[in-house]
């Protein structure tokens, strides 16, 4: 396994952001789901060598990020897409990526410019390479942020909400790109979009209150809600969550009443059952 997280703890004051998280990552795409404040960003920052855990152990490509020289080596092989990339607004797209390429030790000017053009092409920004960042839309800025994470073809991609703010077409393009990239690298992405997890992730980890509540396949997550998803003509009193569909019926997740039409569960349903169960102190129905 290329990434190993063992009993990692991280506190902010008295609040535990990570409370004994353990997992391993190999090639392929692993999704990270969780409610706000679950500790997702903290976990990603630890993997991106931004934060050091208070306790526990991280190992990335067999290297210890706690040691400065090994941390530098990890950063050479890491691509990180943060929630806020901190653009230099007066830079052009090309200049910004070029600057980060320099920081990533691409010293040869010709090779570096070729690399910059490559990542801009991967993210569909070739036509915008001379456009100043302040003139880009939110979606294009997100693509630019993704482009910088792909510099140097890193072995580990850590992506924090990569599809936030992207329209459906761009989200599909992103899925296509990430799927291609995951063939020979580790991709770890956090998202609120369960559809992205269902579409491209080989594996999903659900984080809640700093703990990993689920670690398995997306279909397995959906199975957690089997027998707990139904249709109702009236507002379902016993549902943890429900919503009214276009045909006027209600789709409910929770403890079903008798004699209702059950539905095939989705990842979203399983997520709700998992996180909702933890919040309400109840266990989900048997898978």
């Amino acid at each position: 396994m290329q990434v190993s997280v063992t009993d990692v703890h991280k506190k902010y004051g008295s609040r535990a952001a990570l409370d004994g998280v353990s997992f391993e990552l190999g090639r392929g795409i692993t999704g990270l789901l969780g409610p706000n404040g679950a500790g997702k960003t903290t976990l990603l920052r630890c993997l991106a060598t931004v934060l050091a855990p208070d306790r526990g152990r991280l190992e990335i490509f067999g290297l210890d990020p706690d040691r400065p020289s090994e941390r530098t080596e990890i950063r050479r092989r890491l691509g990180y897409l943060p929630q806020e990339p901190g653009f230099y607004r007066n830079f052009t797209c090309f200049d910004f990526i070029d600057y980060l390429a320099i920081l990533k030790e691409h010293v040869d000017r010709s090779d570096r410019h070729n690399e910059v053009r490559r990542v801009l092409a991967l993210t569909g920004l070739t036509d915008r390479s001379t456009t100043k960042i302040r003139k880009l839309s939110g979606g294009m800025r997100r693509r630019l942020a993704l482009a910088q994470s792909l510099l140097g073809s890193p072995g580990l991609l850590v992506l924090d909400e990569p599809t936030a703010g992207l329209d459906p077409e761009l989200r599909f393009r992103f899925r296509e790109l990430i799927t291609e990239l995951s063939a020979d690298r580790v991709v770890f992405l956090s998202t609120h979009q369960t559809e992205d997890v269902a579409a491209i992730c080989d594996r999903v980890i659900v984080l809640d209150s700093g703990r990993a509540r689920y670690d398995g396949t997306p279909s397995g997550l959906a199975e957690l809600a089997r027998g707990n998803v139904w249709l109702s003509n009236d507002r379902p009193a016993s549902a943890r969550i429900y919503w009214r569909m276009a045909n006027g019926q209600y789709r409910a997740v929770g403890k079903p009443p008798p004699n209702v039409d059950m539905l095939e569960p989705t990842i979203e349903d399983g997520y709700v059952m998992l996180v909702g169960a933890a919040g309400l102190g109840e266990e989900p129905a048997a898978a």
Partner: protein
């Protein structure tokens, strides 16, 4: 991008404005102007301190979780790259400004020679300021580091009082500061300014400050520290060293006395002697002296020598007794006293400097010493001196007041006479006699002499 930064523009405008204000009034003396071209770059230095500090802050990003902070190249290497780019951009911009100012100076009647070591101090100072801004921003991540940079630069210039020694040199630790102000009353020719040593010292100081900006696990920071210290420490010590005793006599011999290195030119009735490098000013002196010389009676201007001495105050060049505490003034005063027909000029020339030249020339022709002893002699001196437009304006201003000096009134009366000059020439010897009174001179020239109203020789209304 540093060159396109708005602060570069404002710094350049401020520096050029400062330099022009300092240099426009007088004809450029290139050795002193070299020092001016250095210290007037202070606004540029402040600008680049802020630019460098801002760049380091931006490189740090708004949080540690942004891509620039999670790169193999650490903050030390990043800061060094920024510092190299910005400080050399600042040096280039400063050099362009200084060259432009030099071109302007060369279009005027410049004298003496450029001192490149002094000029380059201004350029290196901009690099020093950039390093300082970067260093402070590197270790103080709060935006207030910009203010700290500016306060530090200001403090370096004003915090340490400048004390002057007998040689006009700065004594104590002042030369250890990045910039050493020129001494206003000390000519560059006699001031002890170890400009070459100071330039190297400032370079070493810049490397030291740059080292603090890039210190970390990177070996280059420590290398810079050692290199900067190796340059700054020995040159810093050397520039504070004592002045060789033999230097005093060799300096004086070149500037004052019979063996002084002077270029002399005889024009009409007078000889004009300029120090090396000041020959271009001889026509300016001639232009100021000629009205006086032409108005003087025949035979009264033989042996007149307009001679340059190393002093920045033209008035005290002719009245040397006021600055006896300057080490070279004793030699200067003795030389002037030994030459009764000499008119001393200094190493400053401007429109206002024509006044003391005319003033002294008229005194010498009228036979006065430091001041005229006789009443009529005073009138004769003033009549002659008023052929200088500046002195004439003063006389015209005096006679328009409630009271006026009697001599000024007599000069005004003499102007009204169509044969004023003829009468003055005819009665010259009697008029410049120290025992001749105003009334006696008035009788000789047919001029009405007003009665005095006080003991200072002032008269009342009716003079105009």
């Amino acid at each position: 991008m540093a060159l396109r930064h708005p602060l570069t523009f404002f710094g350049a405008v401020a520096s050029v404005t400062l330099a022009v204000v300092e240099l426009w009034r007088e004809e450029p003396v290139l050795n002193r102007a070299s020092v001016t071209l250095a210290w007037t770059m202070l606004p540029m230095a402040a600008a680049f301190a802020l630019i460098a500090g801002g760049a380091v802050h931006r490189a740090r990003g708004r949080s540690d979780a942004q891509p620039p902070m999670i790169m193999p190249l650490g903050m030390e290497q990043r800061t060094s790259g920024l510092l190299l780019g910005i400080s050399f951009a600042g040096a280039f911009a400063t050099f362009v400004l200084q060259l432009a100012l030099l071109v302007w100076l060369f279009t005027r009647d410049d004298a003496a020679s450029l001192v490149w070591n002094e000029i380059l101090v201004g350029l290196v100072y901009v690099m020093f300021a950039a390093a300082l801004g970067a260093a402070i921003a590197r270790w103080i991540s709060h935006p207030s580091s910009s203010l700290i940079s500016i306060l530090t630069l200001i403090g370096l210039m004003i915090a340490v009082p400048y004390r002057q020694g007998d040689w006009g040199q700065l004594i104590g630790p002042e030369w250890l500061l990045p910039m050493a102000w020129p001494q206003e009353i000390v000519p560059y020719e006699v001031a002890f300014r170890p400009a070459g040593l100071h330039l190297v010292y400032l370079g070493g100081l810049t490397l030291l400050v740059a080292a603090t900006a890039v210190l970390g696990r990177w070996a280059a920071g420590w290398t810079l520290l050692v290199l900067g210290g190796s340059l700054a420490v020995p040159t810093g010590v050397a520039q504070l060293g004592p002045i060789a005793e033999t230097r005093q006599s060799s300096v004086i011999e070149q500037l004052v006395g019979d063996n002084a290195d002077l270029t002399c030119e005889t024009q009409g009735q007078a000889t004009y002697c300029a120090l090396a490098g000041y020959e271009r000013w001889i026509p300016l002196w001639i232009e100021s002296a000629e009205p006086i010389l032409e108005a003087a009676p025949a035979g009264t201007t033989s042996g007149i020598e307009v001679r340059q001495y190393p002093t920045v105050n033209p008035l005290t060049a002719s009245d040397p007794f006021e600055q006896l505490d300057q080490w070279w003034f004793d030699a200067l005063a003795r030389d002037i006293r030994a030459r009764p027909r000499v008119v001393a000029v200094g190493v400053v020339w401007a429109d206002y400097a024509a006044f003391p030249l005319a003033h002294t020339l008229a005194r010498v022709i009228a036979g006065c010493g430091v001041q005229c002893d006789g009443e009529a002699q005073t009138f004769a001196f003033l009549w002659l001196a008023a052929h200088n437009p500046g002195i004439r304006s003063i006389v015209e201003g005096n006679i328009g007041g409630d009271t006026a000096p009697i001599a000024d009134c007599m000069v005004a009366e003499a102007w009204r006479l169509s044969s004023g000059r003829t009468l003055m020439h005819a009665n010259w010897d009697a008029v410049i006699d120290p025992t001749t009174s105003y009334e006696e001179a008035g009788a000789l020239l047919g001029i009405e002499v007003p009665a005095p109203v006080d003991e200072f020789g002032q008269t009342g209304d009716g003079c105009e």
